[in-house]
């Protein structure tokens, strides 16, 4: 059931991408795109069961939209932070690698969390081992895992837990 849901979601996503690629739409392109999408999604070589973790209830959809805006805000803030640090004549950096913890279990959720951490102010994910996430922080503000988790992870985790478990 979960695999079938993943395959159908992957198929729909691939078809949408195909339609965006072939911009002046025509019937031929739509049919060809549907055939290709079905072939690729049901190919035994490339399992696409990752998307099965995505929840599609109304609450999850609301959280997805909210997460999108939180992500955009964090991305803009991180760029302003980079601009401040790069253009400051004294380069105010104090780098280090800290350990934070995550409660997310599904691969998709962990990928989204890692990518979000990389694109938010001053942090890059270096390594993920089990529930430990090692993060390069350009200005270390807290070295103990609890407060570092509070500062880096919690903002995204509460959305991602709803979106994909």
């Amino acid at each position: 059931m979960r695999t079938l849901k993943a395959k159908i979601l992957a198929m729909l996503a691939l078809w949408v991408v195909w339609m965006l690629l072939t911009a002046p739409w025509s019937g031929q392109e739509a049919i060809a795109g549907a055939i290709i999408a079905i072939l690729v999604a049901f190919l035994p070589l490339f399992p696409a069961s990752l998307l099965g973790d995505l929840k599609l209830g109304p609450k999850a959809l609301v959280y997805m939209v909210a997460y999108f805006f939180v992500f955009i805000k964090a991305l803009v803030l991180s760029n302003l932070d980079v601009a401040f640090r790069v253009l400051h004549p004294k380069l105010p950096i104090d780098p280090g690698i800290v350990k934070v913890r995550t409660r997310l279990k599904t691969p998709l959720g962990r990928l989204l969390l890692a990518n979000s951490i990389t694109l938010t102010p001053g942090t890059i994910t270096v390594e993920m081992r089990g529930e430990d996430v090692f993060v390069h922080w350009i200005k270390v503000a807290a070295t103990d895992p609890e407060s570092a988790t509070e500062a880096i992870v919690t903002g995204f985790e509460k959305y991602l837990e709803v979106i994909c478990g």
Binding site: V17, L21, T22, S26, P107
Partner: protein
């Protein structure tokens, strides 16, 4: 030291020799007799919006068949040379460091997207730049990403060989069909030409390019897997 100086002198000479080319790019010139003949005839003959594709697949179709054969010979040679015994490397997979979980998950998401993009490129070879070879390389890139993410993984050999043989047979079969139904070997006018700019146009060119793309993709994937080094 002497060798390096000579190489650098040769490089500087090449740069000097090609300098005039840089200034000719923006100048619009009349195309030569051959070029204008191609430009004039290919939309009428084959209804292909991309003239380069019409030349590669139809006017010079036999050359392309030869190129595919050369590529096949090269990858077969690489595969035969790089077996585990020949290299004398015993357990290479044990020494390799595993990739992160992030890369593995991202590979699982990206693979389908890349395969579909490769299919887009070789199916639209008669409309947009690109074609069988480029699309095949993009598909091989998807396989490469899987090999990078999990070095221990095995590519399904049977599927690869089947895809390669089937697409090669399809390519030659379409060429023979052209010899019987149209003007000669590899003539794409076995199917209706259709209107210029639509997906189902230019006769059999999209089908031929799809066969070439799948064949090139399977061949290059097999070559990369052989280069990975720890195959039986």
């Amino acid at each position: 030291m002497m060798r390096k100086v000579m190489v650098m002198l040769a490089l500087a000479g090449f740069a000097f020799a090609f300098l005039p080319l840089a200034f000719m790019a923006g100048v619009v010139k009349e195309p030569g007799a051959l070029a204008s003949a191609y430009l004039e005839n290919s939309p009428r003959d084959f209804a292909a919006a991309n003239v380069v594709t019409a030349i590669v697949v139809s006017y010079r179709g036999f050359d392309t068949l030869g190129e595919v054969a050369v590529l096949f010979a090269a990858t077969a040679g690489v595969g035969a040379l790089l077996t585990r015994k020949r290299l004398g490397v015993s357990e290479t997979a044990g020494n390799k460091r595993e990739a992160t979980e992030i890369l593995r998950t991202a590979t699982g998401i990206l693979t389908g997207l890349l395969v579909m993009f490769g299919a887009y490129i070789f199916m639209h070879g008669h409309l947009t730049p690109g074609g069988g070879f480029q699309g095949g390389v993009v598909i091989a890139t998807a396989v490469l990403l899987n090999l990078l993410a999990s070095p221990g993984a095995r590519v399904a050999h049977g599927v690869m060989t089947a895809v390669e043989s089937l697409s090669g047979a399809t390519y030659v079969g379409l060429g023979l069909l052209g010899a019987f139904l149209a003007w000669g070997f590899l003539d794409p006018r076995t199917l209706p030409l259709g209107t210029l700019g639509a997906l189902a146009s230019a006769g059999a060119i999209p089908l031929i390019y799809s066969a070439i793309g799948l064949k090139v993709g399977a061949e290059l994937s097999g070559m990369l897997e052989a280069l990975k080094g720890d195959r039986e």
